[in-house]
Symmetry: C2
Subunit: 230 residues, 2 copies
DNA sequence: CCGGGCGTACCCCCGGAGGGGTAGCCGGAC
DNA sequence: GTCCGGCTACCCCTCCGGGGGTACGCCCGG
């Protein structure tokens, strides 16, 4: 048997922390190494106690569980974070998952399942409460993106043309694209003319839109070029 | 006790269908009402047999399970669809979820869990195999979207300016925006000037990018205006 | 009552974008 | 060998987009 899993409990409610500690101490494969009463404490305690798994509440003073999760996963910490909350709020769920949480459980989860979940996330697995799973799936179903039909349109472009289109969608002017690809601006213009003709676009703006709609570029991939220089 | 759950088995492999039928028939709360050997059959059988739950394979001739799922959920069918496949392919997973599947299980799932899963999806819950959950969560963590920081930038715009920005991001030319808002084009230009000054953007292309990056508009929301008219 | 934000509207000016057409060069297909 | 697709590169010309500045009515808040 390996060493017990090191767990950090984060919750602003004293009773809840005590309860969790009691539940977890019944399992000899788990060792509660420390507690924190808010997100800010959690961040420092993680650094000090180096837990394997963090049980994280969401609603807390000072720094909420989502922000704390973001902090912790942003640092090189190996700690896996398991959100444990009463509220099945959509913003919480997606906020936590984007922040890098490995799981999202509701506090109504039964003790045995909580223990199983801690082991699961420690192993690298992820898990969600069933109703949370449902919410996540519904969101995915609602926002279908990488439009396969649009992708088909893009396939009529040559590799070079796709490359130009992508740079257009990054906000570059023709001269900048030319510099990037090390060709003349006139060449870029020629490519662009063909692109717009093939895709039946009116101007580069519609080209940018198509690039986003087809998933050629995606939100979050490209920092908006801050070039206020005219 | 209510009537047994009506289940349709869809798999191109005869043995697999037989096996599933055997497993499910051991449970008296489940009634296998029909089978289909490919996606096209599945679509028609769903119409005829009106199952509560469809166990759907992915890799099949004629019409694959993803496409069949899309067909079925697109119609008014109440059938809930549970994907059951050997392959943990990312495209399969996200394709299926976008197509409206209620769950995604691997064929290595144990019989009891499969039966439990069928009941769960029939109840309206959703569920994923643990490793699939992991994949889904990782994808969410990788693509954080409705950028809250970007949203903050947008808040410096007046309502009217946001409205103009959105139309710009839909690919409209200034004159078209003017017509849409029933104002003069010169007014649109004035708004646009202020927008670009406030957000430190160089041209409307960067405005479109910012609109997508901040979630003011999202892929899939706006059909690309097909206006090849010059 | 008066300042200021907002929405509206114009002016002049010019540079980049986009339409149309032409052309050389290269590599692979036939 | 020949032909075609892809990449490169120009020319000319038009016009929309964007910079800078001004202005006026409206409504809200101090």
């Amino acid at each position: 048997m390996t060493a017990p899993l090191r767990v950090l409990i984060v919750d602003d409610d004293d009773l809840m922390r005590a309860g969790l500690r009691a539940v977890l101490s019944s399992d000899e494969t788990i060792q509660v190494v420390d507690e924190a009463a808010d997100g800010a404490q959690a961040v420092t305690r993680v650094r000090e106690a180096r837990p394997d798994v963090v049980l994280m509440d969401v609603r807390m003073p000072r720094l909420d569980g989502i922000a704390a999760t973001r902090e912790i996963t942003a640092t090189a910490s190996q700690a896996r974070i398991l959100i444990l909350t009463t509220f099945e709020d959509e913003d919480y769920i997606f906020g936590a998952l984007h922040a890098g949480a490995s799981g999202f459980l509701l506090k109504r989860t039964r003790p045995e399942q909580l223990i199983a979940a801690i082991h699961a996330v420690a192993e690298g697995d992820s898990l969600l409460s069933p109703s949370v799973t449902r919410t996540v799936i519904e969101r995915m179903a609602r926002s279908p993106q990488p439009d396969p039909a649009g992708g088909r349109r893009l396939r009529s472009l040559t590799p070079r043309e796709r490359e130009v289109l992508e740079l257009v969608a990054r906000g570059l002017a023709n001269a900048e694209i030319a510099a990037t690809l090390v060709v003349e601006e006139s060449t870029v213009k020629t490519h662009l003319k063909r692109i717009m003709a093939k895709l039946e676009l009116r101007d580069r703006v519609q080209a940018v839109i198509l690039a986003y709609e087809t998933g050629l570029v995606r939100p979050g991939e490209a920092p908006v070029r801050g070039v206020p220089r005219p």
